[in-house]
Symmetry: C2
Subunit: 182 residues, 2 copies
DNA sequence: CAAAGGTGTTCAAAAAAACGAACACTGATT
DNA sequence: AATCAGTGTTCGTTTTTTTGAACACCTTTG
């Protein structure tokens, strides 16, 4: 818990794509409150902080627990994937540098113009995938990148995310979900 | 996080055997501050709360995370232990009703008058034991009980605790530590 | 019994945080 | 170019929290 409360709030808020005013409106506080908190010019009361977080929504315990960007990689270039080939089929490991992986990979195909929307669904666990054909725009928190064949992604599913097929044909992806059971 | 901040602080403080004034002195705040917080008459700023917790000491994340009395049993009567006997030796399972047990049992013998002292050492993990011979006074947080042969204990080691041989002879105990490796 | 040291609580004054309304800036739309 | 809606910031006022010094109560000590 070395990080300042203001910094954490700022990081969390921008992760959810909310402006100070938008969050203030949802939380029922003024934008100046959030502004001064994020500048660490004031230390909010626990009630105030809880009230602000309710606008996200996020619990106090999650706010203090969540690690915001642990420095691990999110995007991998084709040549950064680790080859686990057994000879007949090629299996390239995504996120090999990450510790404590807990997920299972699947196959998916996006129709032209396919889009999960910006509802920014959040769920426990992790998510990863490889683009096979087409162009997929992946949004993870504030980071956005258009990935092509051979590229891949790996991120914490707690961070709001979105997928969009920005190519003119189908987009084939090897995707994954966690926990491994489903 | 349904519980109020004041209630949590009060529970944590009394667990550590500190008075409002003693905690106030260690934390560098006034006793009235702690009094009003514990009555939920005010909502402390995050800084203030952290300052108070530093006097325990306890981190913010631990404060919000720790479950203070999860309703699970701490003391077990002799007949409440689950028999895991293999025929030659009798193995009675302590805390069978508890989920996610992570510990390993050992043997110990306390000399007459033996006492771990009230330094209230705190450590991650869980701790359990069975009294074989003698009388052992076990203090866990606010709860105190004198256990005799066949009785047992099981508690979260994060709660301050103390053992004292209150009998006139040796006290034999089957004790345990966590994690299992040591 | 009375004094001393301990507990938690209460109240007016001082300090800190939240509000409310402004400001300055940016990018998009006329 | 000018308006508009958006962003984050700043400042005086209002509200809330913290302080400091009392209070009432209890237990121990002389």
């Amino acid at each position: 818990m070395s990080q300042k409360v203001g910094d954490r709030l700022k990081a969390v808020r921008s992760m959810y794509g909310l402006s100070q005013r938008e969050l203030a409106r949802r939380a029922g506080v003024t934008n100046s409150t959030i502004s001064t908190i994020e500048q660490n010019r004031v230390s909010p009361s626990v009630d105030s902080l809880a009230k602000v977080l309710a606008g996200i929504p996020m619990s106090l315990i999650d706010f203090f627990t969540i690690d915001l960007d642990n420095g691990e990689e999110i995007f991998f270039k084709k040549e950064e994937l680790v080859e686990l080939s057994d000879g007949t089929m090629s299996m390239r490991l995504v996120g090999a540098s990450r510790k404590d992986r807990k997920l299972r990979v699947l196959h998916e195909t996006y129709p032209a113009g396919g889009d999960t929307g910006d509802n920014l669904i959040v769920q426990k666990g992790e998510e990863a995938g490889v683009i096979i054909r087409g162009k997929l725009e992946v949004t993870v928190g504030e980071r956005v990148k258009v990935l092509g064949p051979g590229d891949a992604y790996y991120f914490n599913a707690e961070i709001p995310h979105r997928f969009r097929n920005v190519g003119d044909g189908e987009c084939e992806v090897v995707s994954a979900a966690t926990p491994p059971s489903y």
